[in-house]
């Protein structure tokens, strides 16, 4: 399955959802500016539905190649954590974020994201 976040025509921000035997993996890359937020919301909402249906226990979000993410897009990540929090404990899944500590916004922003729920969000430095 491949989902592309609608953005400018040069596909500045893309998201690939890969489903394999070892689980579901969302690979994001590029620069997520405000024009990408609506598409990103659709992608995250769709993925959340998919994960619930599959009864997934974990999803890996690879953000290693995300150079930039504006607040409007980041809000969608926070909302995603909120949706998982609202699930009954047995249905919750973990969001394991593969980060790139060399990129400043990731160092700061993703560490703060984990503070929303340390059981649900786990940040792993690639």
């Amino acid at each position: 399955m491949r989902l592309r976040v609608p953005d400018v025509d040069d596909a500045d921000f893309v998201g690939d959802v890969k489903v394999a035997d070892d689980g579901v993996r969302l690979v994001l890359a590029g620069s997520a500016d405000s024009a990408a937020s609506a598409g990103f919301r659709e992608l995250v909402e769709g993925l959340h539905r998919e994960l619930r249906e599959r009864g997934a226990r974990v999803v890996v979000v690879d953000m290693y190649a995300v150079d930039r993410m504006v607040a409007a897009c980041f809000r969608e990540l926070v909302a995603w954590v909120g949706r998982v929090q609202e699930l009954p404990p047995a249905q919750r899944y973990q969001i394991r974020v593969r980060s790139n500590p060399a990129i400043e916004w990731q160092r700061n922003g993703l560490a703060a994201l984990a503070c929303f729920d340390t059981d649900i969000v786990v940040i792993e430095a690639a």
Binding site: V8, D9, D33, V70, A79, A102, T118
Partner: protein, 480 residues
């Protein structure tokens, strides 16, 4: 005593509404610098902080407090904040919303409040240098620093700063972070620092003026009527200094010892010119004394001189009619400072006075155009907004354009390899240029951030708080 369940529920509902209002207003402040939206943001968070204490939501109170610190830094920077700062404010608001809601959730959560507060503290520390150490200085004045460049030097550094922005904006990965540091250093040096002049900014002079009048045994009524206006930090600084000295002079020299009087301070921005008027109904300027003192100091030849010339002499460095300085005046510094700052910014100072009827000082300062209209496009290959200044208008029924430009190439970058952009035609009244854009051109208003001399291809602007390029009339040179 524990707050009642009803009170807590009411708080939750109101708090979430407040957070939503603040989120909308925050976006508006960053995009348009709307003064009312700015006030709403600060007021709502302050109220939420107070309400959270009443219902013992200590965690909400703590994050509100940190958020207030962030908002204060943003205000001090004229809301010219970067992505990371915007992200921190957004996350703090979402964190508050989560804390407000969490107690209704049936499940236990693992919220790391200390970790989040540490994150906010780290952001505040990084932006600390932009804050004042003195609480008495109005926020917008905190941006003015001695390290700022002269306008001539700024003109020289502007074009390379624009190049640095382009390099940073198209870079990826760790290189982008490195270039961002350089770009931000340049931006802080040469960028147009926005500020807002308002009654609130100048009210301290009303208070200190009243204190001075009491000290001198005078009864003075001070009335301020300042229309809120967006200016640059330098202009605000000049207005602030002018208000300080002209109010003090009016109290010290204008109002007679033991007497009563009224001082009115008016200010407004009209046609890119800010006019400050300080008017008193006191004794008026003793021109004979000014003339005699000027002759004594060798500044004027003996004999009759026009009042305008005498006003000019009064603003001369070191000029005072007093032979000895007291704690309030007499050093000949005040009016010199007022005129010096105004003239440096291309403005002027004048006065008219009538014996026994009072004096009116008028300071006029041109305000550089900050908000400009334009047309935004999404140029392929460029990861930032591109706005054509109002010299260029999109054509609904274009002819064959003179040339079609790939802006990425025009800016010295790799071709965009766009496959789905359309060509939109723009005209400056003489030429028709075709530009590739991934979306329909739209009319926008941007704020200038780093200016360049006339004839430059581009300057840096912000569109809805996102940094981008503003292309001017010189775009025509690319196809001429």
């Amino acid at each position: 005593m524990e707050p009642s369940e009803q009170l807590v529920e009411q708080f939750r509902s109101l708090a979430l509404e407040r957070v939503e209002r603040v989120e909308a207003a925050w976006t508006q402040v960053l995009g348009t610098l709307d003064d009312d939206a700015s006030k709403l943001v600060h007021r709502e968070i302050h109220t939420l902080k107070a309400e959270s204490r009443i219902v013992s939501f200590v965690d909400v109170n703590m994050v509100c407090h940190k958020l207030e610190d962030l908002l204060e830094v943003a205000r001090a920077r004229g809301y010219a904040v970067d992505d990371d700062f915007d992200l921190a404010v957004t996350m703090a608001l979402r964190f508050i919303a989560m804390l407000v809601k969490k107690r209704v959730a049936a499940h236990a959560t693992a919220i790391d409040l200390p970790g989040f507060v540490r994150h906010i503290d780290a952001i505040l520390k990084r932006h600390e240098h932009g804050r004042s150490r003195s609480g008495s200085v109005p926020p917008a004045l905190r941006m003015v620093s001695g390290a700022r460049m002269s306008s001539a030097l700024r003109d020289q550094v502007g074009p390379p700063a624009v190049d640095a922005f382009i390099e940073y904006a198209v870079a990826r990965g760790p290189r982008r972070d490195r270039l961002r540091t350089s770009w931000h250093a340049l931006r802080d040096l040469v960028g147009i620092q926005r500020a807002v002049v308002s009654v609130a900014q100048l009210d301290k002079h009303r208070h200190s003026g009243q204190a001075l009048a009491r000290e001198l045994g005078k009864q003075v009524e001070l009335a301020f009527d300042i229309a809120t206006a967006e200016v640059t930090a330098e202009v605000l600084h000049a207005i602030d200094v002018a208000t300080l000295h002209l109010v003090r002079n009016a109290i010290d020299h204008g109002i007679a010892p033991g007497g009563t009087g009224t001082i009115r301070v008016r200010g407004a921005l009209r046609d890119d010119l800010f006019t400050l008027v300080v008017e008193d109904n006191g004794r008026g300027i003793d021109f004979a004394r000014v003339r005699a003192r000027a002759a004594e100091l060798g500044l004027l030849p003996p004999g009759d001189v026009a009042h305008e010339r005498l006003i000019d002499v009064m603003c001369h460095p070191g000029f005072s009619t007093r032979s000895e300085a007291n704690e309030v005046s007499g050093r000949g510094v005040g009016l010199d400072a007022v005129r010096g700052l105004a003239v440096d910014l291309g403005g002027s100072v004048g006065a008219r006075s009538e014996s026994g009827r009072g004096t009116t000082w008028t300071v006029t300062i041109p305000v550089p155009e900050i908000a400009v209209a334009g047309t935004a496009i999404r140029a392929p290959g460029l990861r930032f907004p591109v706005v054509l200044g109002d010299a260029w208008r999109p054509l609904e029924r274009p002819n064959q354009p003179t040339a079609v430009l790939d802006l990425a190439v025009a800016l010295g970058l790799a071709p965009s390899n766009s496959i789905s952009s359309h060509v939109w035609t723009f005209s400056d009244g003489r030429l028709e240029i075709g530009l590739l854009s991934g979306e329909h051109p739209r009319a926008v208003q941007v704020r200038r951030l780093v200016g360049t001399p006339p004839g430059s291809l581009a300057e840096v602007c912000t569109l809805d708080s996102v940094e981008g390029l503003l292309l001017g009339a010189a775009l025509a040179k690319l196809i001429a």
